[in-house]
């Protein structure tokens, strides 16, 4: 291959793919067969990190950035005057294999601008995956983008070679989509998701009966929403996310703070700061919903449409539900322990184990590693010494904030002075 030309293509097509935040390489579980190349243990590995602190786990590129669509939020939109390039199928295969052999990556994440039509594009993506699996005996991770509008036939084939499939919904609401991507239809996004979900269920059932049934997209599917491009509230976003988790058995919904790349009067102006903090709070909420047993209406509802930016959503919930606290760590059930601000699931596990041996006191809790600066106001333990004063939520909040060292503190110093 001609390395100079490849270098240029790589820089264009990696640059265009980077706004897709998914980098997961976990959940695949693919063994190395017949002394081939690569495996996927189910645990992802981040092989490097960019200067913005995001992990680099996969070779994340577009097959091409030629596109027939003109979506306002997208760098590769038709009307944008940028350099265009396209990889040949074999070039992507060679890059993947050679990067993988040097332990740079866990696998490939291949997406594409849409050229000609959805099926034509999807077919090419599948060909890359097929070649990697069948010709190179490659067992590393492959994530393919499902192209909105691709036929059921192709979506079925894609899942046989890929570990994960994803369609990015990008705009959390139907009305937002209409505004920013007028040529795309909401149904076109839903259709491949529906198909993939059904195939996964079907293959799983068949596998229970016939062991040799091939696996279909073992790492499931995911989607992504852009945050802060249109005026959605956190409630809108999280209700959408919950809908996708429930309806399509999504493994992950990603939230991507909008990076202003284009001047367009429908979008925040260039130079607007990326809403990184808001994005972080949304991820925290996502975690609370998936791992901590919270339901969405406890955190976001009609009277509470947006998350607090200055405190995490669990603390926010606890401050609105002071009547449930304090709880006794030596007696409380798992569900309640997980709801205490400053106690994570690791600590919940350790507390549950340790308290079978003795009643825990503050020193035990500290050694186990819970964040007492928050937790102390919400728990009692084997000690007479605990926080007894009745505090209003607002005083408690400012008390906690004053003592904490949040990395986001600089944003809120002005507001804090109002309370002290």
């Amino acid at each position: 291959m001609s390395f100079d030309r490849i270098q240029e293509k790589l820089s264009i097509l990696a640059d265009a793919a980077k706004y897709d935040v998914s980098c997961a390489s976990s959940g695949g579980k693919r063994a190395n067969q017949n002394k081939g190349l690569g495996n996927n243990t189910g645990m992802g590995i981040c092989h490097s990190y960019t200067e913005d602190g995001r992990c680099v786990s996969l070779l994340k590129i577009l097959l091409t950035n030629h596109c027939i669509y003109d979506c306002a939020y997208c760098v590769t939109r038709k009307s944008n005057d940028i350099k265009r390039a396209a990889f040949k199928i074999q070039e992507v295969v060679d890059l993947t294999i050679n990067f993988y052999r040097r332990n740079y990556i866990e696998g490939l994440f291949l997406s594409s601008g849409i050229f000609k039509n959805a099926d034509y594009t999807m077919e090419r993506l599948i060909n890359v995956a097929k070649k990697l699996r069948l010709e190179e005996n490659f067992n590393g991770y492959i994530h393919l983008k499902s192209i909105p509008g691709a036929s059921d036939e192709l979506m079925r084939e894609a899942g046989l070679y890929a570990d994960r499939l994803s369609v990015n919904i990008e705009i959390p609401t139907v009305s937002g989509l209409k505004l920013l991507a007028p040529d795309k239809k909401h149904e076109d996004f839903i259709k491949p998701m529906e198909k993939v979900k059904n195939e996964i269920i079907q293959y799983k059932t068949e596998r229970k009966i016939i062991k040799s049934t091939p696996r279909y997209a073992p790492a499931g599917q995911s989607t992504q929403m852009i945050i802060g491009a249109t005026g959605e509230s956190d409630r809108d976003i999280m209700y959408s996310a919950t809908y996708y988790y429930k309806t399509f058995n999504m493994r992950r919904v990603y939230y991507s703070g909008y990076v202003p790349v284009l001047a367009d009067n429908r979008l925040p102006s260039l130079g607007t700061e990326v809403p990184i903090l808001r994005e972080n709070r949304l991820y925290q909420t996502d975690w609370l919903l998936r791992f901590y047993g919270f339901s969405i209406n406890e955190i976001l509802n009609d009277s509470h449409k947006n998350l607090d930016l200055d405190i995490d959503p669990k603390l926010g919930w606890a401050l609105r539900n002071m009547h449930l606290f304090p709880i006794d760590v030596n007696a409380a059930d798992k569900r309640m322990l997980a709801r205490v601000p400053g106690i994570g699931m690791q600590s919940v596990y350790k507390i549950m184990q340790a308290r079978k041996f003795r009643n825990l006191d503050w020193s035990h809790l500290k050694a186990i590693g819970i964040a007492l600066n928050r937790a102390q106001y919400f728990i009692t333990c084997n000690s007479k010494d605990f926080y007894k004063k009745e505090l209003s939520p607002i005083t408690l909040k400012s008390k906690i904030l004053k003592r904490s060292n949040s990395k986001y503190k600089k944003y809120f110093d002005n507001q804090l002075s109002l309370f002290s």
Binding site: L10, K18, K35, S48, Y49, E51, R102, N103, Q353, I368
Partner: protein, 258 residues
């Protein structure tokens, strides 16, 4: 006052288990277990050289296995590999508290300070193992051999053999620990431990003139890729360094662009 006993062993895991055996057999209450390579400068101590015997080691390990679950056993070994000064004694205390207890495979007493300490140290070692699995960068040299050098904080080579053997089953590779001066080498059939007798003075960087034909090109491509996936408007130096501490940069092709 009885002088304290120091048990010296050869640095192997079996050797350490023999020290545990001796401590029980001779009813030594408070021994200090130490590698023979670490010099002793304490007064009023009795030093005893422990000879590694496979049977003794196996007896201790069998007893330990009976009362613990596989995760605890793995953690125990990981904590040993940390080579943190004095970890042997924490491990001895841990083993003692395991042996006095009734068989209880269900719960782990995280309120016992030795048990908690071991689980924390094992976590540190586990993290280092994971990082090395991530940050190893193979360079293809002539003779179709993929070579990487590492200098990990803990002795993690024994822990990463499986990972690399499963993954790179169709290529020859060598990972060399330049701190501990030994490496693991896969010859397409099995993994062997190799040592180079005299490594002092040898340049630990892999020489460019031993590279295979396209090696430099792929390193360059990787650096270009790395540069282009960065989003400048999201720059976050602190997070970057938290995930990718500077001491690992020396391995990374993308941080040493050619």
């Amino acid at each position: 006052m009885n002088p304290q006993t120091i048990l010296l062993y050869d640095g192997t895991f079996d050797g350490f288990l023999c020290c545990v055996f001796i401590a029980y057999e001779q009813k030594i209450l408070d021994p200090i277990i130490r590698k023979e390579s670490q010099t002793n400068n304490q007064l009023f101590t009795i030093t005893e050289q422990v000879i590694t015997q496979k049977e003794k080691a196996e007896r201790v390990w069998a007893g330990f296995k009976e009362k613990t679950d596989p995760t605890e056993q793995k953690n125990f070994f990981k904590a040993f590999l940390s080579e943190i000064k004095g970890v042997e004694n924490t491990l001895l205390n841990y083993i003692r508290s395991v042996f006095v207890n009734q068989v209880n495979k269900k719960n782990i007493d995280f309120s016992n300070k030795d048990i908690l300490k071991i689980s924390q140290v094992a976590r540190m070692v586990g993290r280092e193992k994971h990082r090395i699995e991530a940050f190893v960068r193979f360079q293809l040299i002539k003779d179709d051999l993929y070579v990487a050098t590492i200098a990990p904080d803990f002795n993690v080579l024994p822990l990463i053999i499986h990972h690399f053997q499963d993954r790179y089953a169709d290529q020859k590779w060598l990972i060399f620990d330049i701190v501990r001066k030994y490496g693991i080498y896969y010859d397409l059939n099995s993994v062997e431990i190799i040592t180079f007798e005299d490594l002092t003075g040898i340049n630990t960087k892999i020489l460019k003139n031993s590279y295979s034909d396209q090696e430099t090109d792929f390193q360059k491509l990787w650096s270009i890729y790395y540069k282009n996936v960065n989003i400048k408007s999201r720059k976050n130096k602190k997070l970057h360094l938290q995930h990718l501490p500077k001491r690992y940069w020396k391995y990374l092709t993308e941080k040493n662009a050619i």
